[in-house]
């Protein structure tokens, strides 16, 4: 498979043409480990290739539960205190090559000043439960990939640096970044209109 002459040149060749490639234990150890490394790299490429065929269509329900306050600070920043309901089953997004998901909820709206404004309200790192042994009912309750939040307070403040939150049409978006064990990360999202702020 590998021509000894191409790899070793003439230095390992005896005068009568015989070639020594594995004559010492160090030689053999080196060949073994580097060959194993190359094969492992090929396996990683194949593994990340399987993600290309991985399809999932998680069900996501995301809405504003309540707008508790909408205040203005110092005449120039508006702060909305909201709670939201999130019901997302992201368990199918995990493939064998997925290490964790990074999911976050952002509010999107358009103002006369800027066409796109996005504010992150909540995020979470979701790691997979090991597939085996079969999880007892107790473990399944703790599966973070099945997100169920009711009237959940936002982790981060919903602050708009202008004065545009009043009566604003807002979309809530759930975005999840799929972080692989090997290969490239990809991102998917669901945009759900959430109505108007008061």
């Amino acid at each position: 498979m590998f021509s000894a002459k191409a790899v070793y040149g003439n230095s390992a060749r005896l005068r009568d043409g015989k070639v020594q490639t594995m004559h010492s234990i160090w030689h053999r150890a080196n060949s073994s480990l580097t060959f194993f490394g190359t094969v492992a790299a090929v396996l990683c490429l194949l593994t990340t290739g399987t993600d290309f065929f991985h399809e999932s269509n998680p069900s996501v329900s995301l809405k504003l539960h309540d707008v508790r306050r909408l205040v203005q600070h110092h005449g120039s920043k508006e702060h909305a205190v909201v709670t939201f309901d999130l019901d997302a089953d992201l368990r199918d997004v995990f493939s064998w090559n997925t290490k964790q998901l990074f999911a976050f909820v952002q509010a999107e709206y358009e103002t006369p000043e800027n066409r796109i404004n996005q504010v992150v309200l909540w995020d979470s790192i979701i790691q997979q439960k090991p597939p085996r042994p079969p999880p007892p009912p107790l473990l399944r309750r703790g599966d973070k990939a099945y997100i169920r939040l009711n009237a959940h307070k936002t982790k981060y403040a919903f602050i708009e640096p202008g004065r545009y939150l009043r009566n604003r049409e807002v979309n809530l978006t759930l975005v999840w970044c799929v972080m692989p064990r090997v290969g490239a990360m990809y991102t998917q999202q669901r945009v759900l209109p959430a109505g108007k702020l008061p």
């Binding site: 015989k18 594995m22 053999r28 060949s31 073994s32 194993f36 492992a40 396996l43 064998w96 090559n97």
Partner: protein
């Protein structure tokens, strides 16, 4: 190791590593278990090292026959 043995060692190394890599990928993909793939690969590497690193007798079956050592000739006296 003799020359035939060295060639065989290299072939055995590649065969074992590639075979275990293929099996590990298929089994890991079927069981949706990345760690399992890594473990099977590790076993394959261990087995390959076990077979190839030590100078086993079956790598020394074709001893190269060297010519008998020459006695250095007397240098002919010049002139």
């Amino acid at each position: 190791m003799d020359f035939v043995g060295q060639r065989r060692a290299e072939n055995v190394l590649m065969a074992i590593v590639i075979a275990f890599a293929a099996v590990s990928f298929v089994v890991g993909y079927a069981q949706k278990d990345f760690a399992l793939m890594v473990k099977i690969n590790g076993v394959g590497l261990a087995l390959a090292l076990l077979v190839v690193l030590p100078d086993w007798p079956f790598f020394n079956l074709n001893q190269w026959k060297w010519l008998p050592a020459l006695v250095p000739e007397e240098k002919p006296a010049k002139k």
